[in-house]
Symmetry: C2
Subunit: 451 residues, 2 copies
């Protein structure tokens, strides 16, 4: 499929350079908006503005929505006022908001000037909601019905207004004060008799979210309840918008990227890697590296404190990276498991003790296995004395248990005090585990080897 796409892309570039507009137009009309957008983003800016004008009006707007902000910006700058107005007329409100959020102030002014007044009002409304809130990702274009309508009335309304709605498959029933009273799906409407009243077929218990709800919570509801759309209400329970499943999927993906970045000690952003400059990447990474490097001062102090023991038995040094590395890995396993379990909702705060007890048992099993293998390896292959082997192996068991308990407790605690559990991930856990592992190691070695 990818090769086919490359072939079509080549063909289109050829036609473009030999200026075969009519043929180009026919090919483009048969393609879908996402593929056209992908293709267009590989073109030079001058070619882009040329070829874009070949698209029929509706397709043009759909392609526009699917492009990256930098290309949208280039197009808007090239548009005449009437071209801009044509594209804006075709946009859904939530897409318009997404675009506006990425544009420089001068362009925003120009965009708002050319949107029709009703849409401008909706855009301004959505722009007021805090970032990451349900309000900020919703659209105001939904089908609303009244309880007194018949199924046939409902279809008339859908047919009249549906073309501009982001979804017509979930319809919301509101009263005269715009309060949300029920929900009915297009499937239910289609399977009911024409004369049935909406009040009789609607589901009156509607799950809705407030405009201020976190968008992560919204995405989780989609996953739990298999919704295609979810209504968003204001403080007075009035319906103000809906979130659709495609936007919920985008939120899920963004959240996952953020979690992975946090777990690798990177400040999250929503910009794709290749679009970020070296300096932007640097800024996302250096603060955490610095913080963790400075925190590692503890390991220095511990080693300096035990300098006497180390001088007496230099052999001990050789096992430091193996011990800190293995225990760091044990801690990462636990923290990653717990962080993911919490973000899927499998693990709740009430499970804390169950989780710690389980991690301790897993830790004993892992620690004991690793200690035994290590002991045998040290005695047979590394040919160190039995006391050194014993010191290393006992440290292994104790430090693995410590690492797994810390790795499971810290994410839970982070969540309890209002942080994202993902920040308590392997780099932070490793820094703590390194220091404690060394402390255990030298204490045990000093005792066993009588240093």
């Amino acid at each position: 499929m990818n090769e086919m796409f490359e072939a079509v892309a080549e063909n289109i570039k050829d036609l473009l350079h030999s200026k075969k507009w009519a043929k180009l137009k026919i090919i483009l009309e048969d393609m879908n908006e996402q593929d056209i957008a992908e293709l267009f983003m590989e073109l030079e800016e001058r070619d882009l503005t040329l070829i874009y004008r070949l698209l029929p009006k509706e397709l043009a707007a759909e392609v526009f929505v699917n492009m990256e902000p930098e290309y949208q910006e280039a197009l808007i700058r090239a548009f005449s006022d009437s071209e801009l107005r044509e594209v804006l007329d075709e946009l859904y409100v939530d897409d318009a908001v997404d675009i506006i959020e990425e544009m420089p102030a001068t362009l925003v002014k120009r965009i708002l000037k050319h949107t029709d007044p009703e849409m401008r009002k909706s855009i301004n409304e959505i722009l007021r909601y805090p970032e990451d809130s349900a309000g900020s990702i919703m659209t105001t274009e939904y089908v609303d019905l009244k309880r007194s309508m018949t199924v046939s009335d409902a279809f008339t309304r859908i047919r009249r207004t549906g073309v501009d709605k982001e979804t017509i498959y979930t319809c919301y029933v509101t009263d005269s004060k715009r309060k949300l009273k029920g929900v009915v799906t297009a499937k239910e409407l289609l399977l009911s008799d024409e004369g049935d009243l909406i009040r009789d077929i609607m589901e009156p218990n509607v799950i809705s979210v407030s405009t201020r709800e976190d968008k992560e919570v919204v995405a989780d509801l989609f996953q739990k309840y298999d919704f295609l759309a979810l209504p968003v209400v204001d403080g007075e329970e009035r319906l103000v918008g809906i979130v659709t499943v495609d936007d919920a999927i985008d939120v899920l993906q963004e959240e996952m990227t953020e979690d992975i970045e946090k777990m690798a000690a990177i400040t999250p952003t929503d910009k794709p890697y290749l679009k970020m400059s070296v300096f932007e990447n640097y800024k996302k990474r250096i603060p955490w590296l610095m913080l963790l490097m400075v925190s590692a001062t503890f390991t220095e102090k511990i080693i300096n404190h035990f300098e006497g023991a180390l001088t007496a038995c230099v052999a001990l040094t050789a096992f430091i990276p193996m011990l800190t590395g293995t225990c760091g890995n044990c801690g990462s396993q636990s923290s990653a498991t717990i962080i993911r379990g919490m973000s899927l909702g499998d693990i709740q705060f009430k499970d804390t003790f169950k989780v710690i007890a389980k991690e301790m048992m897993i830790a004993f099993a892992c620690g004991f296995t690793l200690a035994c293998v290590n002991f045998v390896k040290l005695m047979i292959f590394d040919d160190v004395g039995v006391f050194v082997a014993l010191a290393v192996s006992v440290t292994m068991l104790m430090a693995v248990v410590f690492a797994k308990v810390v790795g499971s407790i810290l994410p839970v605690l982070a969540k309890k005090i209002g942080f994202d559990p993902a920040v308590m991930s392997s780099p932070f856990i490793s820094t703590i585990v390194d220091a404690v592992t060394l402390l255990i190691y030298f204490t045990i070695a000093s005792a066993i080897l009588k240093l």
Copy 2:
């Protein structure tokens, strides 16, 4: 919302224990299937089979689908043959397959015996597809239309057969040989005239996947194209089933969990943490810990090799954990960024050189900053000699660059040779980075300090 749920749960348990069946029935009928399932899974098995029988037939099947396999198994064991048949009659084929895949062989036999012959045929068909393929997650219940139908014919067909279909919003147009010829949405049907021919309003360029396609690829298509459903075709381009968006979301979540587990050196499973025994968790974690521990033997060998230098300058030991830790973090940042970029499709194989060049520049910037800060800190606070400070700082710069380059190359290479890039993640990178960091450190220290 969660507290409300707890309150309702308490209320229901009270009613159950005081045997107020009628009242219970009324409350349950007003709840949605996911919440009932969640609530039921908190009950004792005996209470569960009692209360389950209060649900009306259709709701009962929906609740059943939303429960964990162990509770489904308990219910099936408690069902009479006719009760079992009633639940099975209400299930969608893909849900039935999911359930069958989790049940012990004796129950599978009993389940298949009580499904109607047509459904049994579909179930057996889907069960034949390899795990993780599009075929294994599809359902065979879709609306199919013919090109010669009018819109009004289409509605008649939807009304007659739609109640049993998982979605009626995307309808597929097939020819007499069941080959996929087009797609038309319920929205398009609703906004067309009754007499319009399907052939004229359908979209003839349909994006479909083969039954053998990886389910990850399927989920990515949903994200890219905002589909509600995607058709699945066999080797002869015949339509055999569809995948719906709710299943695609589940695949996305599973993939994400797998990625996070692999990135923390855990063998992935799809069982939730709290449902797994200590031994199951142990088995997922110990092989990787063992492998990485044994790989750390390299660090031992390197340190032993430079024992002379270390004995001559014990102070060098103190900075080992700080150096390996910081460089490990640098490697993790790069590998996590690249792994996520590849799984989102932002980074392709053709970008390899661009990525490496970028990572090298970021690495120089980060390495230089860390080296400078470190040098100042060592001179002012740690009071080590200028030569030791220089050795540590130069090592920092070089090892950070190495770590970031390795961290970005290995995931790309892994993908190229057919592995999941996520296996080349922080624990593996750290193990390599540890060894190389030590090698750089001792070589530079020996040279600068003339050891």
